[in-house]
Amino acid sequence: MVQQPIAKETPSQTAGPYVHIGLAPGSCGNRPLENGEIGSVLYDAGVKGERITIEGTVFDGAGEPVRDALIEVWQADHEGIYKSPEDPRDPGDPAFHGFGRAVSNFETGLFRFETIRPGRVPTADGRFQAPHMLLWIVARGINMGLHTRLYLPGDETADDPVLQLIDEELRPRVIAIQDGELYRFDIHLQGENESVFFDN
């Protein structure tokens, strides 16, 4: 049965400079709601897989750090399973949340996630994606949240089916730079090094 849509998606509006009040109250000097807030650590004790740290800065078109951004991350567990009823293989690792939220530091603009190296996620036609996470960026001056991907460097990126859809010279812009357990991933909203953003 082919259903026809009867309504249009609600239009997006900017998250504005005070997004913290709603999504990360502790960061702007407010008291978190009763049961705490969603944070930037994606796991509990006992998580399976290799623990890694993601660190980066969002830059505007003038090369200035964006100090009012909020970044969300969504990724699979160490076996490539998403913690979601929409993943037929769920449940995966119970100690892994898959989702995190970080804000740019008000002085430096730096954001940071503590997570694990995700496994490879299959595609509908039986291929495998390279280890990656989806990042979503909102801030004042961004009318609609921006989707990008962070790939961990490694041989698997060579045949990732989504990376193949990006111009070859732009592919490095979605691959993090490794420094031990730390992976650096800057996001450039505009300019010479503009990041790759997706319509997914």
Binding site: Q3, Q4, P5, I6, A7, K8, E9, T10, P11, S12, Q13, T14, A15, G16, Y18, V19, H20, I21, G22, L23, P25, C28, N30, L33, E34, N35, G61, W74, Q75, A76, Y82, S84, P85, E86, P88, G98, F99, F106, V121, P122, T123, H132, V138, R140, G141, I142, N143, M144, L146, H147, V162, L165, L189, Q190, E194, S195, F197, F198, D199, N200
Partner: protein, 243 residues
């Protein structure tokens, strides 16, 4: 490559704001200049986080009281803001996290970076959250936010608004928007609103007064329905049909 069977309908950008809308000055340096790269939905996009009801405290949906001292309440016109989260097929989206934030009744945000001269209300923080019920319905109790000036173009004023953040069942549905109030003359002047080039789309962000759901001698009500992208088919259907 092949997309997932429960992929989302393509986003209709004609009813969404462009990234670069120079009358809203901050977009000038923050809008990407290259077109978005279209990718098929993989599991990364068709899945999304689920938040348990244990995240939600008893007063999280009640901004009149959730930051107030015991026995006190936020100052301002008391309102209920309620509605349904549905997909593009009109089907309710149950169990999804809805978060809101807003200025107080004087137009001041409780935020270390807001130095507007209107006063902070010690009994109002301006943040709340809830999870939609089995029909996709949600409700918040709050005070009507005030309009406030902002440094865009000398004499720019934001219409009264409440920010909404909504999750769906897949991350590609993720949405942040703003709800405006019926009858506010500042809506038509606002460059953030006008970033949406389609009047019918703007109208869907304006909540009508809803006397039917007003609480006599207590609160007026406004209704704000939210539509998320729909799926081409659901996982449940796929399982039934075995494909």
């Amino acid at each position: 490559m092949v997309e997932e069977a429960n992929a989302f309908l393509a986003r209709d950008h004609s009813t969404q704001p462009a990234a670069f809308t120079p009358d809203y000055k901050t977009t000038r340096l923050r809008a990407p200049s290259r077109p978005l790269v279209v990718i098929p939905n993989t599991l990364t996009e068709t899945t999304g986080p689920v938040f348990g009801r244990d995240l939600i405290g008893d007063l999280d949906h009640d901004l009149i009281h959730n930051a107030a001292a015991s026995g006190e309440a936020a100052i301002g016109p008391r309102i209920t803001v309620h509605g349904r989260v549905t997909d593009e097929f009109g089907k309710g989206v149950p169990g999804v996290l809805v978060e809101i934030w807003q200025a107080n009744a004087a137009g001041r945000y409780r935020h270390m970076n807001d130095d507007y001269l209107a006063p902070v209300d010690p009994n109002f923080a301006g943040g709340g959250r809830t999870i939609t019920d089995e029909n996709g319905a949600y409700a918040f109790l709050t005070v009507k936010p005030g309009a406030y000036p902002w440094p865009n173009d000398g004499n720019s004023w934001r219409p009264e608004h409440i920010h909404f953040s909504v999750f769906g069942t897949g991350f590609a549905q993720r949405l942040i928007t703003q709800m405006y109030f019926e009858g506010d003359p500042l809506i038509a002047m606002c460059p953030i609103v006008k970033a949406i080039g389609d009047d019918a789309a703007i109208a869907r962000l304006i909540a009508p007064l809803d006397m039917e759901h007003a609480t006599p001698m207590d609160r007026l009500a406004y209704r704000f329905d939210i539509v998320l992208r729909g799926r081409k088919s659901t996982l449940f259907e796929n399982r039934l049909e075995g494909n």
